[in-house]
């Protein structure tokens, strides 16, 4: 998508052999790019959330393996790199998926070829992510176009956290159909959940929608239910960090509350996801490990302490929305009910 009018991706190979990224912790106030030159820098970028969003984490990890292979292309180094990268974030399953892809590409190759092979494969995964997200956008676009025909005014869409192009290599998942709708002349407006504690909505979603010229309004996470009660939301679209084979959706903490409000008010609640986000090994969302992050993300904001010095805080990063609250899942292969049957019809090879 565009930054100040110039097309960009969130991650790219630099001519000097490093990996370029946008430092997303500096947004929305500063647009800064960084270069990752080592496995440790790639792992740090994921852990410290310079890059975030399940699809982008996966591609960054793939490049991390490639950077490691340049230093030591041995089997032991490959395994160590995958272990280090897998440990950076526990909930997103794309990370493990991307590492599996890299392992598969490199395992049979002689060590001398692994560095260049890994670099190429990471680039392919990045390109594939762009294609997949564009396809998700095209499959979800009719949902917005249909709402536009139904309501005959501006379509009001609520999203939580950032599942935009900044969370992927390009296009985004939840925001991909919104960009396509806006670009095709459909009048859309996005309610952007702030998304405490890390404020990815207020800082990233608002920023990327603004850069692309999509009308939007930032609200606190508490406000979405009130808007839905008053008919101010036509549909919700969110992303997913891990989706079970039965259609339960782990996504940013607070997604479950918005899904409850949508259900209570008859507002469709769509989850967009690349199939790499599906964990076919799980049938119950309660089995998804939920990352607990440092409590300082809750107690401090921009260097300002928000809580009394003696008050403890807790910080779960994700929650699980049960499939019964999800109107439909949108993948790169199309739309399906949030159910085992729905997913398996789209992905028959998983039967």
């Amino acid at each position: 998508m565009r930054v100040a009018g110039k097309p960009m991706r969130t991650i790219w190979p630099e001519p000097d052999g490093t990996v370029g990224i946008i430092d997303q912790t500096a947004l929305p106030h500063a647009f800064t790019t960084r270069r990752l030159g080592t496995l440790e820098e790639a792992a740090h970028a994921i852990r410290a959330m310079l890059v975030r969003g399940a699809p982008l984490i996966g591609v960054t990890a793939a490049y991390g393996v490639a950077l490691a292979m340049r230093v030591d292309p041995s089997d032991a180094a490959l395994e160590a790199a995958c272990r280090t990268l897998a440990a950076t974030r526990p909930t997103a399953v794309n990370l493990r998926w991307a590492l599996d892809q890299m392992r598969r590409a490199l395992a049979e190759a002689p060590p001398s070829e692994r560095a260049s092979l890994a670099w190429r494969r990471a680039g392919e995964l990045a390109d594939e992510d762009v294609r997949v997200n564009r396809a998700i956008g095209e499959h979800a676009l009719p949902l917005i176009a249909g709402a536009a025909r139904r309501v005959r005014r501006r379509v009001e869409i609520l999203t939580h956290c950032n599942a935009g192009w900044l969370a992927t290599v390009d296009w985004g998942t939840a925001l991909a159909p919104i960009y396509l709708a806006h670009d095709s002349g459909i009048d859309v407006h996005v309610w952007v959940d702030e998304t405490r504690p890390r404020n990815q909505g207020a800082s990233l979603t608002a920023w990327e929608l603004g850069q692309h010229g999509v009308p939007h309004t930032v609200i606190v996470d508490n406000a979405g239910g009130h808007l839905m009660q008053h008919g101010r939301v036509d549909l919700c679209i969110v992303g997913s960090d891990r989706t079970t084979a039965s259609g339960d959706v782990a996504n940013k903490i607070g997604t479950y509350l918005k899904a409850l409000a949508a259900y209570d008010n008859g507002v469709p609640f769509y989850v967009t996801l690349p199939s790499s986000t599906i964990d076919w090994s799980l049938r119950d969302g309660r089995e998804i490990p939920i990352e607990e992050r440092d409590s300082s993300e809750v107690t401090h904001l921009g260097g300002v302490r928000l809580t009394p010095a003696d008050s403890p805080a807790a910080n779960w990063a994700f929650d699980v929305t049960p499939a019964r609250l999800v109107t439909a899942l949108v993948t790169e292969r199309g739309i399906c009910p949030a159910s085992e049957g729905g997913l398996r019809r789209l992905f028959p090879e998983r039967r």
Copy 2:
């Protein structure tokens, strides 16, 4: 309740004829008191939320009338003072209730007696608030004691915003039974919703629980659903800014989302309120006017800008929880179902 071990109220008459308050905008980092000497200072204290919480707003308004009567005890000045104070905050109904009480006390009195009469009546309203809240606490205490017997471990209570003693003259509404439970030796722990955008949970509820020694943990507003899904909440207790005759509850924005999660997970959801918070003229919560506050409360925090400079924000201060999601209402007269029948049995004079 206690501040650094010393018993305090949130509002008190000073010997010099001014009204002492705690500047709640400086908490939790600084404990500052202020003196209100004029109607305009009282109105400003409510508008700028130096004092907040429906019951405390009412008592502050009553003192505001008393301060106005000292300058000009005429009928016209009385009406003007009530108009100015009523316009400070639109949602809380106690404010109107308290002004009605003052009008009733002063209307028939000769102007020469109004200043001293108003000062006395405001003090009586403050004392009455303390008695009412203590009674609410005693009526709700068995709900916590019952949970303690049932779960046979620490009782986990979730609350939203601040309905503690800082929101009233003393004791609080939602926190009154928690203080009584803690003081009587019941092991309680409170999940404190941060309560964006003004963070009354993170700054006020956490502070007052900490000052009183009640174990608590601050969480973002997004987290409560996840906790309830995992059996980490035994009951929710919140306050109310306005309750309809049918039991619909206007309270801080986001309360509705927590009520939905409680309902979805079989967690009891209790609303505590002085009867002065009941609007007997309304039967449908959707008729309650919802205050929209300045968007800077969303876009900025502690001087830090959270959103891109070009991104608009919206800021509704309250939402309405329908009676069907409320397990019971707790008033100074006892507990009742959140329904017209339930309320009228407790308040038969309203039939």
